[in-house]
């Protein structure tokens, strides 16, 4: 008896919803920690305002573009694993990034970075990756043009070593970023060993 009343009521509710066009798709946003544990920030915005998400597994649920709930909720990791099971399983391995450092103004590797090369080649062999990007960078000593040239030479030196070790050239993508993307931001003209580098990404 009770059940049939409930059934009628819920059918009516569904019908009403359909009639007034409120069958809007429901959107849920959940902030997740990065694989390295870092938690950044997500801001969810619509016509009703904005809501920041800053805690691990903090979540906001919305139905309409002109409504925002007054509070977010914090899910458990187990809830997230259930809600996003198939997307979590489809996540590709995040690319591995290696940094190789160079002597000032040259494309000569520092001794320590030279020693890192066998390890990188071993990793490429084990992953069998055919999508490797090599980008050269410089510090802010010298002109923009000179630094683009130096950072290109740095990238090419590494590419050559990988090709010599047997990697097909078509699996490499070589780029020169000059002084535009420093790891450590410095004023112009500052020598900075951490910026004289090649970033090698194995995807």
């Amino acid at each position: 008896m009770n059940n049939s009343i409930l059934l009628v009521l819920s059918s009516l509710a569904v019908l009403l919803c359909t009639l007034c066009g409120c069958a809007a798709p429901h959107s849920q946003f959940v902030l997740l920690p990065s694989p390295d544990g870092h938690v950044g920030r997500v801001t969810v915005t619509n016509k009703a305002g904005e809501m920041p998400l800053e805690k691990p597994f903090e979540s906001v649920d919305l139905l309409y573009p002109n409504e925002l709930p007054s509070q977010s909720t914090v899910l458990t990791e187990a809830q997230v694993n259930t809600l996003f099971r198939d997307a979590l399983a489809a996540q590709p391995t995040a690319p591995a990034t290696y940094l190789l450092y160079f002597e000032p103004g040259t494309s000569r590797l520092t001794q320590e970075s030279e020693k890192l090369l066998p390890q990188i080649m071993e990793y490429i062999r084990t992953t069998n990756s055919r999508d490797i990007s090599i980008s050269g960078h410089s510090d802010k000593v010298g002109s923009r043009e000179v630094n683009i040239r130096i950072s290109r030479e740095r990238a090419e030196v590494i590419a050559k070593k990988l090709i010599e070790s047997g990697l097909p050239p078509e699996s490499l993508e070589v780029a020169s970023h000059g002084m535009e993307l420093p790891l450590v931001d410095t004023p112009e003209g500052t020598p900075e060993p951490r910026n004289r580098r090649v970033e090698l990404v194995v995807r």
């Binding site: 997500v42 809600l83 990007s133």
Partner: protein, 152 residues
């Protein structure tokens, strides 16, 4: 008359393929695929396979048991769960020109995004749009679920 038509057809086909080529720079690659998964590119519907290139403007579709995982050139990754419709509306990544932007639109289904260099270059550059809101992403991982009408 016939020749004129042929020329027109030729010009049309040529300009269409030129447009695809000009727009065809790969911005990512498919890494994982399971079940029913497709790429809508212009009028083409391509079955998704590992190592396939993704270009801006692509719409990705997954079916009931489908999923796709992508690695983008800025090292960000995107995974789509089953029953998803996702469009890569914008993707700009040019370090020297300082151009960085990512706009993804999810109409249905679920996704997990792990940010990469685009988010590092410009803190406001990564955006995900759903029918109810827009999420701006600053250096992190984000999961989104949109429960839509399956018959859309």
């Amino acid at each position: 008359m016939y020749r004129g038509c042929l020329l027109l057809v030729f010009l049309f086909v040529f300009s269409a393929s030129w447009a695809i080529a000009a727009d065809g720079d790969a911005v990512g690659r498919i890494r994982t695929v399971s079940g029913d998964a497709h790429i809508l590119r212009g009028a083409d519907k391509l079955a998704a396979k590992p190592e396939m290139r993704i270009v801006r403007g692509d719409t990705l579709l997954t079916g009931k048991q489908g999923s796709i995982g992508i690695v983008f050139i800025d090292n960000s990754t995107l995974a789509l769960g089953s029953n998803s419709i996702f469009k890569l509306a914008r993707y700009d990544f040019n370090v020297l020109e300082k151009k960085a932007g990512f706009v993804g639109q999810i109409r249905r289904g679920s996704l997990i995004y792990l940010s990469g260099l685009i988010a590092k270059m410009n803190a406001d550059a990564v955006r995900f749009e759903t029918p109810a809101a827009v999420a701006g992403v600053r250096g992190t991982r984000l999961a989104i679920k949109v429960e839509g009408d399956d018959n859309e």
